[in-house]
Amino acid sequence: MTDNKTIYATYDDDMVLLAGAKELVSNGVYIRDVFSPFPIHGLDPVIGIKQTRLAICAFIYGLIGLTLALCGMYYFMIVDWPMNIGGKPNDFFYQNIPAFVPISFEFTVLLAAHGMALTYFIRNWTLPGVKPRNPYPYTTDDKFVMEIHPSDSGITVDELTEKLKTTGSILIEER
């Protein structure tokens, strides 16, 4: 007999929360999420959050940028409308490479950065006009909040509240 309630436990110090989290997890409590005004180092493995793969996306976007840049310049300068500019060769790609280096690089960075940023916004769902979902406004200031669904770890609210009390939470609220 479990009920799907949500417990929010507030701490006023990141270290206390971290210690508490460790303890809870060791007692087999599953912590849904933690809201904090700044990243708490060492928390992610404890509550089982995997390392993000954003970096890989960035790499891919970068590759796309590089290819686009090179193909573009190849088409513009050599295929579509070759011109005699300062007697520089315009008939082979490799002869032109040196002149293409700077823009290829810049374009790679451009796409990598912006692609990554977009992905970041979308995955986080942080976009203009999105409503914030943090339980209390103070989580962005100086308080730290744990979100636990008792049902996840199959224990009752009271048991959980007991456990939380021992971790030095300053406020435990159920919704």
Binding site: S36, F38, P39, G42, W81, V109, L110, A113, Y120, N124
Partner: protein, 459 residues
């Protein structure tokens, strides 16, 4: 948690808690603007308007309203362009490079340094724009399909490289800056009570929640963007320097330019950061966050880059003689002894000689002196660009075309204008944006905060 050696000086002074940090930073946002802010804003607004006026006159009448002539086709316009871009570099350098090196002291200053970068790059972008004879056709520089058929741009031109470099640099640093701002906007959003600001900040904060996964991504993207921005910083000014290095004009055609320009840029950039922060920490009472230590660190960067620049100057001189090229040799003798000798020696004193006084700890930790020096350095760096551009052009290969350059009031007005606009923007930033990165500062509070350090010592 990461503990820091006690000998390192604290980066956050006073008995601060997380909450107090928020309040300190938010003081300016929620509170009324101080008198000094209004005065500063007024002055810069006037300068900005004067500049806009000059620019409109310029665009209406023609580039001839500047003092340029058949021989000197670039003077103050590109000088100012390079100067502003250079200033821009410090911000990215601080936030990106120092982040990669895990320099915690960056955290107090990187937010405003990045803001400075963005505004400086905006000002820089003004110049290539208005220096064009036909700005209304500026879109020609983009490889756009057009009604003229196969008409593309010239990818051999360093000026085109600039277009890509500057636009990339600007947009990337903007994104980097904004991503860092979002959590702090969220903080303000949740803290302010008035309705309108709440609306505005909740819009700006993109609905930031601050849950663990978001923070995880946040740290990742900061790191990667830093990784991307670092080579970008170096590439941008290298490319700017190629405008000159790839040309055939004696005094421009120099392979030493890329590194020399980059270090010059960092040099001037840090100087400008000093100028701004020394004022800001006073006006906005941030002495506890932007400490003497920060100032000293930046002075050390200044002396290092300043010395690099100095070495570059001397190398140029030596090579011009060693190369045995008569035009090259003359170009540099002309710089030092020709009609523009005063500009050259102004550059030398401001950039090479004066920063050396920072070897003395007393001076390098003296706020007022640092402020004075930061101004001197910026003047010096402006002259460096002037010397490179004008004194190389005004006497090149054919003596028949040798001329002098004399600025007109429009030249001067436009320059003053950009300075005005720059300060207007920065003052608005200081007023309405979190000038310190809250989330980052809070992470180092325990490792580098004063009271915690003292605690550590007691145990």
């Amino acid at each position: 948690m990461h503990q820091e050696a006690a000998i390192r000086e604290p980066l956050i002074l006073g008995e601060k808690t997380y909450g107090e940090i928020t309040d300190d930073v938010m003081a300016s946002v929620v509170g009324k603007a101080s008198k000094s802010w209004w005065i500063a804003f007024g002055i810069s607004a006037v300068m900005a308007l004067w500049g806009v006026g000059c620019i409109l006159y310029l665009l209406g009448t023609g580039v001839g309203t500047w003092g340029l002539n058949k021989t000197v086709g670039w003077a103050w316009d590109i000088t100012n362009f390079v100067w502003w871009v250079g200033i821009g570099h410090a911000g990215t350098l601080i936030s990106a490079v120092l982040l990669l090196f895990r320099q915690k002291w960056r955290m107090a200053i990187n937010r405003s340094a990045e803001a400075m970068t963005i505004f400086a790059v905006m000002m820089a972008a003004v110049w290539p724009g208005i220096h064009m004879g036909r700005i209304w056709l500026a879109y020609f520089v983009f490889p756009l399909p057009n009604q003229f058929g196969s008409l593309w741009v010239n990818f051999n031109s360093p000026l085109l490289w600039d277009v890509f470099a500057i636009s990339t640099y600007f947009s990337v640093s903007l994104v980097f800056w904004y991503i860092g701002l979002i959590p702090d906007f969220a903080t303000i959003r949740d803290k302010v009570t008035q309705a309108v600001p709440k609306k505005v900040y909740s819009l700006l904060s993109f609905g930031w929640t601050g849950n663990a996964k978001a923070w995880n991504r946040f740290e990742e993207i900061s790191l990667v963007l830093a990784g991307l921005a670092t080579p970008l910083v170096f590439s941008v000014h290298s490319i700017v320097s190629m405008d000159f290095a790839t040309s055939v004009i004696p005094g421009w055609h120099t392979t030493i330019f890329p590194p020399y320009f980059v270090s010059g840029a960092v040099f001037s950039g840090f100087a400008m950061v000093q100028t701004l922060l020394i004022i800001m920490r006073k006006v906005m009472h941030l002495e506890n966050y932007i400490t003497r230590k920060h100032i000293e660190y930046m002075n050390i960067v200044i002396i290092v880059t300043g010395s690099i620049v100095g070495v570059a100057y001397l190398t140029e001189l030596f090579i011009s003689w060693y190369s045995g090229v008569e035009y090259e040799a003359y170009a540099f003798i002309n710089r030092a002894t020709g009609p523009y000798w005063w500009a050259y020696w102004a550059m030398m004193t401001c950039n090479v000689i004066s920063p050396q006084v920072f070897w003395f700890k007393k001076l390098r930790t003296n706020i007022m002196f640092t402020f004075f020096m930061s101004i001197v350095v910026n003047i010096g760096m402006w002259f460096e660009r002037f010397v490179i551009i004008v004194t190389s052009l005004h006497r090149d290969y054919l003596p028949s075309s040798w001329t002098m350059f004399h600025p007109t009031f429009v030249d001067i007005g436009c320059f003053i204008g950009t300075i005005g606009i720059f300060f207007v923007l920065f003052l608005l930033f200081a007023r309405f944006f979190p000038v310190l990165p809250l989330n980052e500062l809070k992470t180092i509070l325990k490792s580098s905060g004063e009271q915690y350090k003292t605690k550590v010592e007691e145990h």
